[in-house]
Structure formats: structure tokens, C-alpha cells
Point group: C2
Chain length 434, copies 2
């Protein structure tokens, strides 16, 4: 099949001119000359579909390019590359499929679509030898997807782990620095525009879940969808968890974690995590993101940068456009196709073995410790460290740090412990990573 590009320039169509769309258009226009030299061909934007053509825009853009009819952009025969920057599963997925069916290349920054419907889209792109690139869907401008697909691709990746949601990292950073409560910091973050009015997708971990599904699929060359991800958000984290963790030498972060296990099993999970303070990811603060990849040859390699926003995500989208343009020019679209050729099963979260942090409130009475630690012992859970502090009158906080054991052992132990008369409440249970 001869695919050599015969046109004298490359046509780009864009769906969406929100945060990411503005960053993309702005960058394409600002650095156009340099970008065209890198590609070896001129580029031209043929249309930008928006919901409201009259809305004032952050980016200076020729009004004549704006349309409220996405099909006029998708179907325009001059458009070689469609950039889908509207987000959400539908209608984004349909638009992308329509573009692929017309033989157009696609660039997207849509994590939800890729995590929920990526398989079908990638299969269609691969079948037609088209580029489908999505660097902007994870960790803003950080080049984690291209790196795993190319420069690191000789490695058998054993772990991919990261701080991939800026909003929750901002909240946890403020809580850690100020000893503030989640509610107070969340309200402040909403006022500053760092958190949405409905913060569910961030705070409850779904956004990070989409992203770790995408990263794990690439890392483990295996299909992973959002349904495979165990997701737990940060709502349960209190100022006292953060301060007890600090006392033990840890910081609490919301992590996305993918691990390759024996017997073709993988772990894919998002949850608050105690990380040792000297861990490479531990110094990622505020809205920054970072991703750590462990490969059998490279060892640890870490990427760090802004995980969201117009400029960083626009950088990722334009990087993908540039790569796609080079492929178009050389007739090599589809050269890095879907690499999900392994079949893995996801280990149930109950079977996942980690270390654990547990905080509880108990009556300050004799034999409390022996009763509780006896139950841990019955469930084969070994205690690594313990902090006990009297809090009010006859009640006391006890914080436990446990050696590796499966989630179901902790679950069983905590059920039994809750039934003890001397136990007021089991306040929190957080996993620990190294």
C-alpha cells in the first residue's frame, strides 16, 4: 500500500475550544514557523467546532474558522488530522469514529473516552493504519505515553505509578502544610478554580482511574478498561491521618498504581497511599503530576510536570499533531499501533498485598491492645509499628502500621475488631507503598 502524502500542506480540524483547545490553537499559531520546519510541510487549521461561535475566547482566532457544526469539520476533505478536544465519551467517540472511517488521523486528549471506549477506537485506527494519539489524556504535557510506546518500549515494565490528579494533590498538599480539613481546602480550591463545583470526578478518584487504566494498558501491553480499576478517593483522609503518617515518616498522596504480577495478573488501582518521605514521587506538590515507571532494564525512571491546564495539555496535543504530520508526510501513519497484545487478568483488590496503615479509636482500658493485636495475629497480619495517644478522657487513638498482607485479611480483622466492646470506631485504613 503506497501512502506517500501528495498534498503540499497538512489540514487540521479541531473539535472544542475550551481549556485544551485554546492551548492547542494558541501554540500552533505562536510557534507555527518552527513547527512547520520540524514537520517539513506547512500546516493549516480548516475549522474549529464550538458550541457557541459568539462566546468570547481566551485565544485570538479567526472568527471565520469557528462553526457550531462538528460534522462540517470532520467531513471537510481538507482536514487530514482531527483533534478531538471536547471531552466525555459521547458524542466525542462518534466523532472520532466518523473521522477514522473517512481515513483521517486522530489526536485526542480525552481520558474518559480512551479509558472507557479506547479499545474499539484503537482497533479501528489499527485496522485502517491510521494514527490515533492521546498523549494529552494523561498528566498534561508530561511525555509519558510517547515515552512508554517508544523510548522505553524495550523494557518489560513491572510498575507504573503516579500522582495523576492535580486537584487532589493540591488538596492533600494544603492539608499537609496547613493541617486543614478536606472540606475547608476543597472549598478554597473551588473558589480558586482548582476544583470543579462538582468535585466528584477528582475527589472520588475517577479521573485518576481513567488515567491509570490508560497507562497500565500501555505499560503492560494489555487491554485495561476503566472497569478493571479499583478506585477509592480521598474523602476519608483527615488532618490526623496526615499528621500520624508524618510521625511515621510518610506523606499521604492519591496514587494511580499499575503492577505486573506473576501468572499474567496485573494490579490496577487508585487510592490514597502512604509514601515514604524520601520516595521520588513524595516531593510532587500542589497541582504538579509525576509518574514513575519501573522497567526490567532501565530501573526507575520518573517524569514530573504540570498535569493539567491550557499550556501543558496544549503542548501534548501539538506534540501528537507534529508526530502525526511526520507520519503523514512519510506515509507511515499507524506505525506505532495499539500494542495491547497480552491478555492479563486483574487481581481482585482483596488479594492485593500491601502494607497498611490503620487508625482507630478505643476505650482506654486494660487489655485493649492485646485483644486487638490478637485479632490481627489471628488473621496472619504482622504489626510493624504502633502509635497510641490519649485524646479525650477515656478514649484514645491507636495507629497501626502493618507488614504486607492481602486486603481481605485486613477486612476480616477489622470486621472482628469493630465488634469489640472496647473499640469505639475504626477511623481509617490506608494502603502503604514503597
Amino acid at each position: 500500500m503506497e501512502k506517500r502524502f501528495t498534498k503540499d500542506h497538512i489540514g487540521i480540524g479541531i473539535l472544542g475550544l475550551g481549556v485544551v483547545g485554546s492551548g492547542t490553537v494558541d501554540l500552533l499559531m505562536r510557534n507555527r514557523e518552527e513547527i512547520e520546519k520540524k514537520i517539513g510541510l506547512p500546516i493549516r487549521i480548516y475549522g474549529i467546532a464550538v458550541r457557541n461561535v459568539n462566546k468570547p475566547r481566551a485565544v485570538k482566532v479567526d472568527r471565520a474558522l469557528l462553526t457550531d457544526d462538528p460534522r462540517s469539520v470532520i467531513d471537510n476533505p481538507d482536514v487530514d488530522i482531527l483533534c478531538e478536544l471536547i471531552g466525555g465519551v459521547e458524542p466525542a467517540r462518534s466523532y472520532v469514529m466518523q473521522a477514522l472511517e473517512q481515513g483521517k488521523q486522530v489526536v485526542t486528549a480525552n481520558k474518559e473516552m480512551m479509558a472507557k471506549a479506547g479499545n474499539g477506537i484503537m482497533k479501528e485506527a489499527a485496522r485502517r493504519q491510521l494514527d490515533l494519539q492521546f498523549e494529552g489524556s494523561v498528566a498534561g504535557g508530561i511525555p509519558i505515553i510517547q515515552s512508554m510506546k517508544n523510548a522505553l518500549a524495550g523494557n518489560r515494565v513491572t510498575e507504573v505509578m503516579g500522582i495523576i490528579n492535580g486537584t487532589t494533590n493540591y488538596i492533600l498538599t494544603r492539608m499537609t502544610e496547613e493541617g486543614a480539613s478536606l472540606e475547608d481546602v476543597l472549598r478554597e480550591a473551588q473558589e480558586l478554580g482548582y476544583a470543579e463545583a462538582d468535585p466528584t470526578s477528582d475527589v472520588d478518584g475517577f479521573d485518576a482511574g481513567y488515567k491509570i487504566a490508560i497507562l497500565s494498558a500501555i505499560a503492560f501491553t494489555s487491554k485495561v478498561s476503566v472497569d478493571d480499576v479499583y478506585v477509592e478517593g480521598i474523602r476519608s483522609i483527615s488532618a490526623s491521618d496526615i499528621s500520624y503518617a508524618a510521625e511515621l515518616g510518610y506523606i499521604i498522596k492519591l496514587l494511580g498504581i499499575g503492577k505486573r504480577m506473576p501468572n499474567n495478573q496485573i494490579q490496577v488501582r487508585v487510592h490514597p497511599t502512604l509514601l515514604p518521605k524520601h520516595h521520588p514521587l513524595a516531593s510532587t506538590h500542589d497541582v504538579y503530576n509525576s509518574v514513575l515507571v519501573k522497567g526490567d532494564s532501565i530501573g526507575d525512571v520518573m517524569f514530573y510536570g504540570r498535569g493539567a491546564g491550557s499550556g501543558p495539555t496544549g503542548s501534548a496535543v501539538v506534540g501528537d499533531i507534529l508526530d502525526t504530520c511526520r507520519n503523514l508526510r512519510f506515509g507511515s501513519t499507524g506505525r506505532v499501533a495499539c500494542t495491547c497484545f497480552e491478555t492479563s487478568t486483574v487481581q481482585p483488590i482483596e488479594d492485593v498485598e500491601t502494607r497498611h496503615y490503620i487508625r482507630m479509636v478505643v476505650q482506654d482500658k486494660p487489655r485493649v491492645l492485646s485483644a486487638i493485636s490478637g485479632i490481627f495475629g489471628d488473621n496472619d497480619i504482622n504489626i510493624e509499628a504502633m502509635i497510641q495517644k490519649t485524646i479525650y478522657g477515656k478514649q484514645t487513638d491507636i495507629v497501626w502500621l502493618m507488614h504486607e498482607s492481602p486486603g481481605k485479611a485486613i477486612q476480616a480483622a477489622l470486621s472482628a475488631i469493630k465488634n469489640l466492646d472496647i473499640v469505639v470506631e475504626v477511623s481509617n485504613w490506608i494502603r502503604v507503598e514503597e
Copy 2:
């Protein structure tokens, strides 16, 4: 020109089976199945040229592949990709040119060759639309070159800055943690194999100079050779510099720094640097490397990992091989050609403006401070902070932290200060970066 690959597998030839060669061959063999699936074609090693075929090897390799005749590998018509892993400028450069002249793709990890003779080699590769990849030449397995050439390529890069020599970072880390002298730590590093018997290339900054020349050329899309780099090693750094720096809130690192300045000027320099302790690069310890890139759209993005060694550098070489194989298969070799299309001039180090750290020993007499600070004032140098400590009897250390000023102003001031009777010595002068 139709370049579609018609063979049923890709042939690889390797020159050199030292640290990098062993890591490359080991990884290619270990993950062969997965790598071939990612490429879409089988790969086969046709020959490995070594100096001594009978020497015992770290990697298990078919003896029949070994030869002491490099030309038999380069000239073998079955070899599509030549991996040059012997290092040094000659004969490596000649071998690479011979391979290119035969239309073969080249992968190299040779920083010295790329920094000293990269222009000619890249020009030849570009002229013939061949791949010439060199990710392993900088920062081991960290995917900094591919990232700058692809994912970050939409950005106008304003700065690239990194800890890119593991040996000196190991030495400075030990000096910082133990308060030890450079001589003692260097001796220990040599015993551990972290430093060469002749440590000049590392300790005097030349190795970092090669690497920052390569990174700056890509970052600023401009020709940069090793002659453009100002290089200053770490031999002058004493335990007291490290402890005074710490007192001021800084850590001392050997940095490679490239900056884009107004009027098509660039800065390219390697020198010991005071970095604020909270700087993203400041927590890169021991033999780890890290590189920070500032782009006009992405902001700060940082890469971190092992900067040398068999596994990490082998990972980079195999990543390049994989990318080249995909280009071969799709007939798209040369798709990311040399991008040095800008003409920049390098700003003389005397004109480079930074903040400065200066340590001196003076007589403990009246009016010493006013005499010295008067000279700084005469040279338009503003003082930001000062530490004075009595060291022995009538002499005292004075440490100055200066606001931004050009190197030549500091030079002029220090010349005058050295002539003062009250000044025993100017002990050190180190640049400061934010």
C-alpha cells in the same frame, strides 16, 4: 522514492560489547518476543565486533556472532541497523559514516562523537533519509532526546538544565552527606568503580559538556558543538563551600545549563552551581541524573533516572533500535531528521549574568567589610546575603551571595579585592541558579 521494506526480518549489527553493548544485547535477547510484536517484524543480530573475541563476557551470547573485524559487521548486507557502541570519536565516526554511505540506519550511544562530530554525521544521515538515533548518549535510559524531538517539539524551549554526570553527582552527594573532602570521596568512588582511574572527563566537567552540547542543539534547534560549551569541573569545591551553601539554603550540584537568550544568543555551560534546596533538580542524589526542560507552553517538565550503566543505557539503545525498526518497516526512515535549522551564537561566559557565591579569607581588622563591599559596589554588584565567621585567630571566612551580575563584573571585582592587604585569599566563586 518508494522505501517500503521488503525483507521478512530486520538485521542488526553491533560494534562493541562493553557496558552498553552488553546491556543492549542482553535486553534484545531477553525481551525479543515482545519487542518483535511491537515492531511487527522479527529481528536478528548478525554480528558483534569486539576487540578480543576470547574475552569472557558479562552477557551470554553466541560465540559465532563475535568478530574482531568491524568491517565484516558494517559491510554485511544483512545488517540494516548498525549500533555503534564503542565510544570515542575515532574510529567510531568512520564506522558510522561507512554504514551511512551504504544506506544503513545507525543507532549510537556515543556522546563524545555526537558532541564533536555530530554535525557531519547528521548531515549525511539527513541527506540519505536515514535514521541516526542517539538517545543513549545523554542521561542513560532517560528519554530526554526522543521527548524533545517529538512530544515536546511544539514548544519553544527556553531552558534545558540537568545533572548529567553521575560520577560527580555521587561525589558531591557524599561530600554533602558526610562533610568529606573531594579527594577522599574520589578515592572511595574509584575503589567502588563509580569513578575511572583517570577521572578527568567526569571531574573536570568534559563529559557533562558533551551532553549539554547535544541537549542544547536539540532544545534550541541550533548547531552546538563541544567548543561552544564553557566547562568548569568540581575540583575547587570544598567541604566548607558545601556547608556555607547549606547555611544559605542551597545545595551544590554540577549542572549542564543551556538557555535561550534574546537576539539569537544561547548560553551553554557546565559548572558547579548553587541550587535552592527546593529546586526540582536538588533532590537528585548519588549516581542519578535528572534533566529539566522549560518550554513556552508546557512550563517546567523534569525527567529523572539512572544516568549510566548497562541496563539503563541498553534500554535507550534498544528504544532507538525499536523506533528505527518501525521506520524501516514503514519506509519512513529519516522522518525525524536533524532539526538544527537556527543559527545561534553562544554568549561569552564573561557576559553571562547569574547570581554568585563568593568565599574569601580576610584579616579580622576594622573596615575590612567596607573596603571589600566598596569594590563590589564599584563594579555594580549588589550584595544579597553575607556570612562572616572567625576561623583561626586573626583570620576570618567571609561568604557573599550576590544579586545578578555578569561574570566579568565579578572577575574585575575579585582582581581588585585580591590586591587588598587585608585579603588573604579569594577561596572560591560559584554561580547560583534558581
